[in-house]
Each structure stands twice: as C-alpha cells, then as structure tokens.
Symmetry: C2
Subunit: 111 residues, 2 copies
DNA sequence: TGTGTATATATGTTTTTTCGTATATGGTGG
DNA sequence: CCACCATATACGAAAAAACATATATACACA
C-alpha cells in the first residue's frame, strides 16, 4: 500500500472515525459504528468497504452481523501512524465514543 | 488543525514528497523541490502554499529564494506521524532524494 | 530604470471524491 | 417459502480537488 493511498484513507471524517474507534475498541459491528458516528448506514458501509479494500480493516461475519477490526498485519509505520492519531485526537473522537458507550449500556443493535 | 485536514494534506503525491523531503533535509528552496520531485514549478508552488496555509510548513525568504521547512510547533502527534511516514517509506522517497543529491553536487538552482 | 530569475497566483477545465437514494444480498426465524 | 433484519452495492448528481497554462509579483543586478 502506497503511503499516499494510506493517507487518502484517513483523509475523510467518516473513515477516520471508523479507524480510530476500531483502534480504541478492537472490534465493532457496522450498526455500532453507524450509531457512534451518526451517519447513514450506506455511507458508513461504503467507507468501511473502502478501508477493507485497501487493507486497513479486516472483517468477520457472525450471523447477520459483520464485525470490523484493524488489520494486525499493517506495516509497522502505518499502525504507528494510526496509534499516534488516536492518542493525539481524543477530543475529536470523544463524542463518538460517548455515543458508543450509550448504545452499549442500552440494548444494542447487535445483541 | 483537525486530523482530517492534516491527513488530507499528506494525501497527495506532490505534497507528501515535499513534506518527507523537508523532514529529511531540514530546509529546501522551491527550485530544489521542483528538481527533486520532477513536477512543474506552479504545481509544486501551489501545493507548498497549501501546506503553509494549513500550518505544516513555514517559509523564510532569502533574496530571490524562498526556503520551506517543517513547522517546529506542529502538534506532537502530527510531527510523530510525519516521522513515522518518513521512516517507513524510504523506498517511496528514494528517487527524489537521489535527484536532490545530484542537483546538489552540481551547480544548484539556488547558489 | 530595465532585464532576468525565482516564486506565486488566477482562471477555466478536467478528474476524483463524496453523496443520497434506491435496491440487492445474505442470514434468521416463523 | 415468507417476512424481517443487517449489510452491501449500484447509479446519477453534486461537490471538491487537481490540473495546465498564462500571468503577476518580488527581488537582483546592471
């Protein structure tokens, strides 16, 4: 993966939220991400597909639900970039994390 | 600077080359960058202006020449991202570094 | 002041990206 | 098989980014 296409993947609000939330939470299903980010399901799904196609995310199906996670085989520099971005932008990420916490404390979309 | 706009700045070949070359060399004038990257002067100049406007680069004028460098006051996470990107992509950067070395060994554009 | 060099910007066009909406796919349970 | 849910994709429209080319600015030096 070229560095430019990697950075292109992070250069969108929806995609960056997905990546940073997954870096934080380990694994999430699409409905969790839709709730946390507050965008339409097709929009989130399209961006997730893009992140998977370029190798940043992996998926696992469980029944009706599709779980996304960071690809553990990312080049070290790319994983480090994601880690730094997550560390340095907790303020940017916080609202989505709060929404994620709320939907987890209640009956979640994927229980 | 929002993380998304920061990553947008790195999500272009010309801009990423500029940033990584400057990370490597400390300070370069526009003509050095034009030679190293092999793109037209207006194109490089436009991208440099964009990097300066978003706070990633600073400039210093010396006579006819304009020298660019990384902004030392970048947020720590952003500086770390640039560092990681430079470390992990020496292959991507190498051709430009070679061209830079050649033009430096000869009479340079800005001597 | 006038010429030459380095760099910046303006303009119109083309390409790329993103989007909303509609629809398709794939699995679950009746 | 059917109705339902979660997710994915297709498609045309709209918005954003990048481009080539021409021109402007700023400085140096005669």
């Amino acid at each position: 993966m070229s560095p430019v296409s990697f950075f292109k993947c992070l250069a969108d609000d929806t995609r960056l939220h997905c990546v940073l939330l997954l870096q934080h939470k380990g694994e999430l299903c699409v409905c969790d991400l839709v709730d946390a980010i507050g965008e339409s399901q097709p929009k989130v799904s399209r961006h997730l597909a893009q992140l998977r196609e370029c190798g940043i995310l992996l998926t696992r199906r469980e029944g009706q639900w599709m779980y996304y996670r960071l690809n553990p085989q990312l080049p070290a520099w790319a994983a480090a970039v994601i880690g730094q971005a997550a560390e340095g932008n907790s303020v940017y990420l916080k609202p989505a994390l709060v929404r994620l916490g709320k939907s987890e404390s209640q009956a979640s979309c994927c229980d």
